[in-house]
């Protein structure tokens, strides 16, 4: 195997795993190949997908965001309360703006605490998680159904008359935009830099504090988009919206090759992580796995993700060091011969 090929395999390991997993499920259930089934595979995780992107960006910057689910749920609840209690009849476009603004503001609050006041990101976002799920119960208090049809169509509708859900298309567009932001803009480069080496980032003149505020703001914004998608998918706002998915946001990002220590990862990989969770979801449903088994299986997925994450870098280093090692071995043999 050439060096380039092995490196490409290691860099895109998740897609190789996806392919193998897909083929295994295909052998069990050949109907999986139908376009309808492939689309629903991604549709079932498209809301979660947004949360995974939100998490991935924060992880790349070397931080955690435990509050992505809470932001999705809270911003959705604010919208529902606006429409049902406070200002009935608010146009759907205004509702979308309210949702996105709420998510972004919570993100800015997290970013301010973590970046400017130097609070540990895990503790800060955990506090936000508890705070905003708590506030949801006060503002909403029950499952809320009353929402305009257009607002619900983001997460529940289809593009024209096709079988393509709006949320899947939106997820793909989001992936492309986030990819461009991370790789082609100054902000993206700086996010990677901070995650890779915060002190070095300072010596390069990067304003670490402000960049962190932006990172959490982006995460909050994307989480609010996820909130809109969840609402549409379920046609309602539940008070535990996205709560069970919190750990899957880490699993998806890490499976996709985002380093838990920060500084590396790419969106094509993260998208692979989302697709992996989709395949698992469909596969487990197909095999009629009992609900009680879902939790432990999630645990196993997380464990695999962490192992992959740890060894991916080492494997890569191994491949790159192989050539020089061969040279050393030769030298060594010469030494031994003397």
């Amino acid at each position: 195997m050439s060096k380039k090929f092995s490196l490409a395999i290691i860099d895109n390991m998740i897609w190789v795993i996806n392919l193998i997993l897909f083929i295994i499920f295909l052998l069990i259930e050949p109907k999986l190949i139908l376009p309808k089934n492939i689309v629903s595979m991604i549709y079932s995780v498209s809301m979660l997908g947004f949360l995974i992107f939100a998490q991935a960006i924060v992880l790349i910057s070397g931080n955690f965001d435990m509050s992505v689910g809470a932001i999705a749920g809270f911003s959705a609840t604010v919208v529902a309360a606006f429409y049902e209690f406070w200002f009935p009849g608010t146009p759907w476009l205004i509702l979308v703006i309210i949702s996105l603004a709420t998510g972004t503001l919570i993100g800015i609050y997290n970013g301010f605490m973590v970046g400017k006041l130097n609070i540990n990101p895990f503790l800060q976002t955990l506090a936000s998680h508890v705070l905003f799920y708590g506030l949801m119960l006060i503002i909403g208090g029950r499952t809320m159904f009353k929402l305009p049809r257009q607002y619900l169509s983001f997460g529940g509708g289809f593009v024209g008359d096709s079988i393509l859900p709006v949320s899947v298309v939106a997820l793909i567009i989001a992936a492309i935009i986030i990819h461009i932001i991370l790789t082609r803009t100054t902000l993206g480069r700086q996010i990677f830099a901070i995650g890779s080496n915060r002190i070095a980032a300072k010596t390069c003149g990067i304003n670490v504090e402000n960049t962190l505020v932006k990172v959490f703001a982006i995460s909050g914004f994307i989480s609010a988009v996820a909130g809109i998608m969840y609402t549409g998918y379920m046609s309602c706002v539940t008070m535990d919206m996205a709560q069970p998915d919190l750990f899957l946001t880490f699993a998806g990002a890490i499976l996709g090759g985002v380093a838990i220590a920060g500084g590396s990862g790419k969106i094509s990989g993260v998208f692979g992580g989302i697709v992996f969770l989709g395949i698992m979801e469909i596969g487990l449903t197909m095999l009629k796995t009992r609900a009680t088994w879902r939790e432990p299986i999630t645990g196993i997925i997380l464990a695999i993700a962490v192992v992959l994450n740890t060894y991916q870098g080492r494997l890569k280093g191994h491949v790159l060091a192989k050539e020089s090692e061969r040279r050393i071995e030769k030298e060594r043999a010469e030494i031994e011969a003397i």
Partner: protein
């Protein structure tokens, strides 16, 4: 003559020691012998393999091949605990003490009874033992104060005392302890070494300063590129011989390699007046266009702090800093970069983004200079064009701009950090220890680069703890002591003894 009886004269006898790293052979069949009651000088340039040797003996890294005998007995050293039990002590050049513990507690950390038993702590005894040890060396410090309040030199003293006077110490390795100590303080350590030597303790003395080696060592070993190139009694050697062997080339070549271009002070680029903060006191100096200003001082004298303050990473309490006629003291590091001030930190781990490709590393301080016409996206083509220019100019050994920088050698990483300032269109380079831990070839390439940039009108403030280096490359040398300037020497006044004299805190 059995091998056992042959070895038992030696405190340490390491035979055919080999250490391999992926990519390099750090030690190549080294035979290292240390007699009982001997002080051996271990010399060699950075990256020559001397730290590898010491780290193997201290149990920090594992040898690839070879045998080690302690007092005639073959031993296996698998971890630090093993070497400690054999009586090996190591005084590192970074004086790591537990900042929140008192001097006495730090000293007591080495005592066995305290380390392994759960019995209650006898504070009185701990303080008494510590003050006894301090008194023996005439050090007037209260053993109960937390060590965070100590100066770097005092920390180094405490650390040395702790290791040398700890129970069970039989061999002590001292790694460049002189770099942080004044002459007087170093004399105290030397007295201690001489006393303990008589009792049969052995020492390994690592240093860059030839004069120190001549003063304290009985014999020397010089390591170069992982091999012992010279072994002998100190009385048989001259300092010129030693220097030549260490450098591995004719010293006359070296001095010629660095251009002796006449530098005539013209326009003042940087004007610093009365700059003070918690680490600096009333710093005033000028830097001219095309000048290389060397900054020398003992460790802890404020060299790094001066540079980080000028770059804006450390706040200034008072004073003015004028760069090309503009007051920059209130500006952020990013704004100073735009004005043309760049900074290369001492420790590469503070300047390099290890898991990022060369592209990110090279352009991180000049992202805005490579934007497309729409001012939104980064122009990859433009970056690549600049990269190929830099690759030629700086002679960087790298396959592709997308390769992670972690797989480059130390010298090439250093070049990328210099190049980062260059692509950011720096006019003033603040460089902290620009050649630390890189091989001698790369060092000279960097000197040449600096000279070339300087002759094109760029200015440098360059700190180094290598006295030879600072004397060789600087147009002027500014000497710091305890955060204040003791002297600024012009090119024709630069003499090593003079530099050392001021570095010890003597005023002119």
């Amino acid at each position: 003559m059995s091998p056992i009886s042959n070895n038992s004269d030696y405190a340490i006898y390491a035979k055919d020691l080999v250490k391999m790293y992926p990519g390099t052979l750090a030690l190549n069949r080294v035979d290292f012998k240390l007699k009982k009651g001997q002080v051996i000088g271990l010399l060699g340039k950075n990256g020559s393999g001397k730290s590898t040797l010491i780290n193997i003996l201290a149990g920090m890294i594992k040898k690839t091949a070879g045998d080690i005998y302690y007092f005639g007995k073959k031993v296996d050293i698998n971890n630090v605990q093993d070497s400690e039990n054999l009586g090996f002590r190591f005084v590192s050049q970074e004086p790591y003490l537990m900042d929140d513990l008192s001097i006495a507690e730090n000293i007591a950390l080495r005592e066995k009874e305290l380390k392994y038993n759960f019995k209650s702590v006898n504070w009185e005894e701990i303080n008494k033992t510590a003050s006894k040890k301090l008194k023996r060396l005439n050090i007037a410090l209260d053993p109960t104060i937390p060590s965070r309040y100590l100066k770097v030199s005092e920390k180094q003293l405490i650390l040395t005392i702790r290791e040398v006077l700890s129970t069970g110490a039989r061999i002590v390795a001292l790694d460049e302890v002189g770099a942080a100590l004044s002459k007087y303080e170093l004399e105290t350590i030397f007295d201690l070494i001489r006393e303990e030597k008589k009792r049969g303790m052995s020492f390994i003395y690592i240093s860059h300063e030839i004069d120190e080696v001549f003063e304290i060592c009985d014999s020397v070993i010089v390591i170069r590129d992982g091999e012992i190139v010279l072994e002998g009694d100190i009385s048989d050697l001259t300092s010129m011989q030693l220097k030549e062997v260490i450098a591995g080339r004719d010293l006359k070549d070296e001095s010629e390699a660095v251009s002796k271009k006449e530098f005539r002070p013209s326009d003042v680029v940087l004007k610093v007046r009365d700059l003070s903060n918690e680490k600096l006191r009333d710093i005033s100096f000028d830097v001219h266009k095309g000048e290389i200003l060397g900054v020398y001082g003992l460790r802890g004298a404020g060299r790094t702090e001066l540079l980080t303050t000028l770059f804006g990473l450390m706040p200034a309490d008072s004073g003015t800093v004028e760069f090309r006629g503009k007051d920059v003291l209130k500006l952020t590091p990013a704004e100073r970069l735009n004005e043309g001030i760049s900074f290369v930190p001492e420790d590469r781990s503070e300047g390099v983004f290890d898991c990022r490709p060369i592209r990110d590393n090279l352009f991180m301080s000049s992202l805005e200079k490579n934007l497309c016409k729409n001012n939104l996206l980064i122009d990859f083509k433009q970056e690549e064009k600049k990269y190929y220019q830099i690759k030629d100019e700086f002679d960087v050994m790298a396959e592709s701009i997308e390769n992670e920088i972690a797989y480059l050698s130390g010298g090439n990483k250093q070049k990328i950090m210099f190049a980062r300032c260059r692509v950011a269109e720096a006019l003033l380079y603040l460089i902290d220890e620009g050649t630390k831990g890189i091989d001698i070839g790369a060092k000279f390439e960097i000197y040449d680069l600096m000279n070339e940039l300087a002759s094109n009108g760029d200015s440098f403030i360059y700190t180094s703890s290598d006295l030879d280096e600072i004397c060789r490359i600087s147009h002027r040398i500014m000497i710091l002591y305890n955060g204040a300037i003791t002297a600024i020497l012009d090119r024709d006044e630069i003499r090593k003894d003079l530099v050392l004299h001021y570095a010890d805190g003597n005023k002119s």
